[in-house]
């Protein structure tokens, strides 16, 4: 089922940045924590390191903002990521479109298999 795997990897690729925005919707997180939580979701990310360029791109787009902050335990400073107003709008828009898309596909697939 190479074709299905390919389609899923495309979908995953497209949805990934919205998953990043979604994880930051309620609270800011620092890079390591954010990347580890995405990496822990089964099949979402192939290499955690590849998320850093994505974070940097989202920041260039103005959908994320970041600040370096000292860590409490006296460790190295951490880069915290937060969602911006533009990021929130993009996420809300995607959420609506995504539900619509998912429902349409589900409906068609259900007709095909019953």
């Amino acid at each position: 089922m190479v074709v299905a795997a390919d389609v899923l990897s495309q979908l995953r690729r497209g949805a990934l940045e919205y998953c990043v925005l979604g994880l930051l919707f309620r609270e800011e997180r620092y890079g390591f924590e954010l990347v580890r939580s995405l990496g822990a979701i089964d099949g979402m990310v192939t290499g955690e390191g590849t998320l850093y360029p994505l974070l940097s791109r989202l920041q260039k787009d103005g959908r994320l903002a970041s600040t370096w902050r000292e860590s409490d335990a006296g460790g190295p400073p951490r880069k915290y990521y937060a969602i911006t107003a533009k990021g929130r709008r993009a996420l809300e828009e995607f959420t609506t479109e995504w539900s619509r898309f998912r429902d349409t596909v589900d409906t068609i697939l259900a007709k095909g298999t019953t």
Binding site: S9, R12, R13, L16, E17, Y30, G31, F32, E33, V35, R36, G39, V45, T46, G47, E48, G49, T50, L51, Y52, P53, L54, L55, S56, R57, D61, G75, P76, P77, R78, K79
Partner: protein
């Protein structure tokens, strides 16, 4: 910020540094700082070799990370799929580039002034050439004009200063405008 990490982690960062030479320097520095921060956050002095290998495996290869950083914003791989082919640099010669060079060379003789101007505009419109190459092309085109102008001004001021030494002006071989603007 630059505390030394486990040897395997430092080795990984070195590989990433080598693999990322083609990235813009700001992006590269940021990426290296982020990955170093990741390793610092994920490892303790007590971490074993196995712990380090585990964390590095989950990061993916330096090449995958660089491929993700090079990917264009629209659609190209951002999650570093293992199948991501290394980016082959496109040929530096497209229609715009060829016409630009023709305008800068032949254009100078066929339509003086306008030819090179069109050429420079086309050079800057090119998506294949780097900023540096464009700057060099522009300087090579404009420099002879400036040299000529400065020379002419110099000549006029020498003449009008009323020097009674006859200057063999004509022997200052007429400067030929050769505008080879090709980078």
């Amino acid at each position: 910020m630059n505390t030394t990490l486990h040897l395997l982690a430092e080795d990984y960062l070195r590989r990433l540094e080598q693999a990322s030479w083609s990235l813009p320097s700001h992006d590269r520095a940021e990426l290296l700082a982020e990955i170093r921060g990741h390793l610092q956050a994920g490892l303790t002095p007590e971490s074993t070799d196995a712990d380090v290998r585990n964390l590095l495996d989950e990061l993916g290869t330096p090449e995958d990370i660089v491929a993700a950083a090079q990917a264009s914003p629209d659609g190209a791989p951002v999650s570093g799929m293992p199948t991501a082919a290394p980016q082959v640099p496109a040929s530096p010669w497209g229609a715009v580039e060829i016409v630009a060079v023709l305008a800068l060379t032949l254009g100078t003789f066929v339509v003086p002034i306008i030819g090179p101007i069109v050429g420079i505009v086309l050079v800057w419109a090119s998506t294949r050439w780097t900023h540096r190459e464009k700057t060099v092309a522009t300087i090579l085109t404009v420099l002879p004009v400036i040299v000529l102008a400065v020379g002419a001004i110099g000549l006029v001021s020498v003449r009008s200063s009323g020097s009674d030494q006859p200057l063999p002006v004509e022997e200052h071989a007429p400067v030929v405008v050769t505008e080879t603007g090709a980078p």
